[in-house]
């Protein structure tokens, strides 16, 4: 059976004067209808780049240099721009990190909603407005009629993110890519937005790719996780399995670093020593080896393959396979 979205050996490079820099290397995953996937990792792991690569909207000088992105069986990674526009914002919507910066400050919410519908449907303004109202109600915006004629600066951060979710719902997309949708928000608002996203994905049967560094958020919302490190997926599997029994030392480190659970008040949080390597000096062998607590000689010379451990789990680690 073909998947709704299948990313196969995706490779993204940045063209620099000194030569091409590989940002994403051999990333593969699948997403089915109504499925929720978490892309997890520290800053610089390549999560967002993966997200933008899917809708072919990489900032220059980034470009897709290899692999395939199959959406409903069709490769969209090499599609021309005008064809891609029929998918981008229509079949696949994106939610950005900072709702303060995502809406255009000089147009009303109504204008920004209606234009999205008009870009994808032969539709009258009145009809578009009706749909916009309906979607605003879905994300629990009070008195939506009034809100349509307001500007983004008249809303709070949480409200703006709801509006952006409403915009992404306008065309009833098959997939929503949410790039750190709650990072810029208060903790209490974070939970609300996450609940809303989960609820909408379930009721509308939309696929969700949730890009975040927050394992706690991912574990609440998604069914499966792919953990990224230095442009590669290093562990993937069902959310429950990974959170309860992380196999890769990096994933284990991330989970140990979460506050709560075994920690007592006053005790220091765990951390993974060192930093994510920059793209220009990724270490030989396993990219994680300088920070790894269980490494061996082979880790410093040979890249571990992402292998199935037989329990629907993929791990890229010499020591754990």
């Amino acid at each position: 059976m073909s998947h709704l979205l299948e990313v196969k050996d995706l490779e993204v490079k940045f063209a620099l004067r000194s030569g091409d820099l590989t940002a994403i290397n051999g990333v593969s995953f699948t997403l089915d209808k109504g499925e929720k996937l978490g892309l997890v990792g520290e800053s610089g792991a390549g999560k967002s780049v993966t997200g933008f690569a899917i809708i072919n909207l990489l900032s220059k000088p980034g470009f897709i240099s290899g692999g395939k992105i199959l959406f409903n069986g069709e490769d969209i990674s090499s599609m021309n721009d005008s064809k891609m526009r029929n998918i981008r914002g229509d079949r696949i919507s994106m939610i950005f990190q900072d709702p303060m910066m995502t809406l255009n400050p000089v147009f009303t919410i109504g204008t920004q909603m209606i234009e999205t519908l008009k870009a994808h449907r032969q539709i009258s303004k009145a009809h578009a407005k009706e749909i916009a109202l309906e979607k605003l109600k879905k994300v629990y915006i009070p008195s939506p009629e009034k809100r349509l004629s307001q500007y983004s600066h008249e809303f709070s951060g949480g409200m703006r993110q709801r509006i952006i979710i409403a915009i992404s719902l306008l065309t009833d997309p098959a997939i929503i890519i949410a790039d750190e949708p709650t990072t810029a928000l208060d903790v209490t608002i974070q939970a609300e937005i996450m609940d809303l996203l989960r609820e909408l994905c379930d009721s509308e049967q939309m696929g969700l790719i949730l890009i975040t560094h927050d394992l706690a958020v991912v574990s609440e919302v998604t069914e499966k996780i792919a953990v990224m490190y230095a442009g590669r997926i290093i562990e993937s599997g069902a959310t429950n399995d990974i959170v309860n029994d992380p196999r890769h030392p990096y994933t284990a480190g991330l989970i140990r670093a979460l506050p709560g659970g075994v920690l007592k008040p006053g005790e220091k949080l765990h951390q993974i020593p060192g930093m994510m390597p920059t793209l220009t000096d990724i270490p030989l062998g396993c990219a994680f080896n300088p920070r790894c607590l269980i490494k061996n000689g082979i880790c410093e010379s040979e890249l571990p393959e992402l292998l199935d451990n037989g329990h629907k789990r993929m791990i890229a680690c010499h020591m754990r396979n």
């Binding site: 909207l57 526009r85 998918i87 229509d90 000089v106 234009e115 870009a119 500007y151």
Partner: protein, 326 residues
């Protein structure tokens, strides 16, 4: 919005008072109106009498209030050379200058907008590099040199365009006030070279300003989001990015229109254009103080009015300003 407009107008009035104060102080200190009026032959006693009669011995502040009072009623003093009210002289000359400034302003808008947008969207093309290089050259060449070069090429060598005067004008309102060159082919021909010269100083600035503002806007998240929504490139560039680009540009345009009025002095001199700038230079040569002060006040008020109007337009375009004005 109403409160915002009222506040802007109040500010404008305040600025006008300051301009008039400076103007009056200059008038008060430079030149002797009694000498201007009576010449050399009158005795000192008679001069003192005239001074007393004209109120020139009153305290500064009393004289200033009288000056403002007169100015509000449209009386900015007499031009001793023209033997009529200074304001009348200026009003007569104003249309010529206005037409040049409007023409130059239109040129700037029509050329800088498309070029600014194009160079921001395609900064690496040969044409963009050419425009940017040429605009650097444009800023650094002084306006009188541009004007003389234009006259030499198009007037003297090619004989395509007239190089001085306003050409054939028509009376717009039928009362002899606004003699316009806008409505005759000859008048328009005469406008071309002066307008290009006047525009040449501001044009490169605007191309660069629009380009850099637009490039900045194109990098913002909301433009990236507009792409992610699947909008067409034209809508993203010309609606989403352009409106945000326009905000700072409008403010600068208001200031620059005022500065262009000042630059007409040079342009009008080179082209023998019978406008306010030309009149100003003549007035300086004749030490016609009243006329100089009247010029200062009139140009000051044009500056203030243009900027107030621009601010109000800005308030309509930028929604966040309206909130602040409530």
């Amino acid at each position: 919005m109403f409160a915002f407009i009222i506040r802007r107008i109040a500010q404008a009035i305040f600025v006008m008072l300051v301009i008039s104060l400076i103007g009056f102080a200059i008038k008060n200190k430079i030149g002797d109106p009694v000498r201007d009026m009576v010449g050399e032959r009158v005795t000192p006693q008679e001069r003192a009498k005239i001074r007393q009669k004209l109120g020139l011995n009153d305290p500064f502040i009393t004289q200033y209030i009288r000056f403002v009072d007169h100015a509000v009623h449209g009386d900015l003093g007499l031009s001793f050379f023209y033997k009529k009210p200074a304001l009348d002289v200026i009003v007569e000359k104003a249309p010529a200058t206005m037409e040049m400034v409007i023409g130059a302003g239109l040129l700037i808008i029509l050329i800088s907008l498309p070029l600014g947008i194009y160079t921001s969207l395609k900064p690496r093309t040969f044409f963009s590099r050419f425009v940017m290089g040429f605009s650097t050259l444009g800023v650094s060449v002084p306006v009188f040199l541009t004007a003389i070069m234009l006259i030499y090429i198009f007037g003297v060598q090619l004989h395509w365009l007239p190089s001085y005067g306003r050409g054939k004008t028509v009376d717009v309102f039928g009362n002899g006030w606004w003699m316009s060159g806008f409505f005759t082919a000859d008048g328009l021909k005469h406008l071309i070279l002066p307008c290009i010269s006047l525009a040449s100083i501001e044009l490169p600035l605007f191309i660069r300003l629009i380009r850099s503002e637009m490039m900045e806007v194109l990098e913002t998240d909301y433009i990236k989001y507009a792409w992610a929504k699947g909008l067409s490139p034209m809508r993203i560039w010309l609606v989403h990015a352009f409106k945000n680009t326009l905000l700072p540009v409008i403010t600068v345009f208001g200031v620059q229109i005022g500065i262009m009025f000042a630059f007409t002095i040079l342009t009008e001199t080179v082209f023998q254009w019978q406008g306010m700038g030309y009149m100003f230079l003549e007035a300086v040569e004749r030490s016609d103080t009243s006329l100089l002060i009247a010029y200062l006040v009139v140009v000051g008020s044009v500056f203030v009015i243009v900027n107030t109007v621009v601010d109000i337009i800005y308030g309509f375009i930028n929604p966040t300003i309206r909130i602040a004005g409530r």
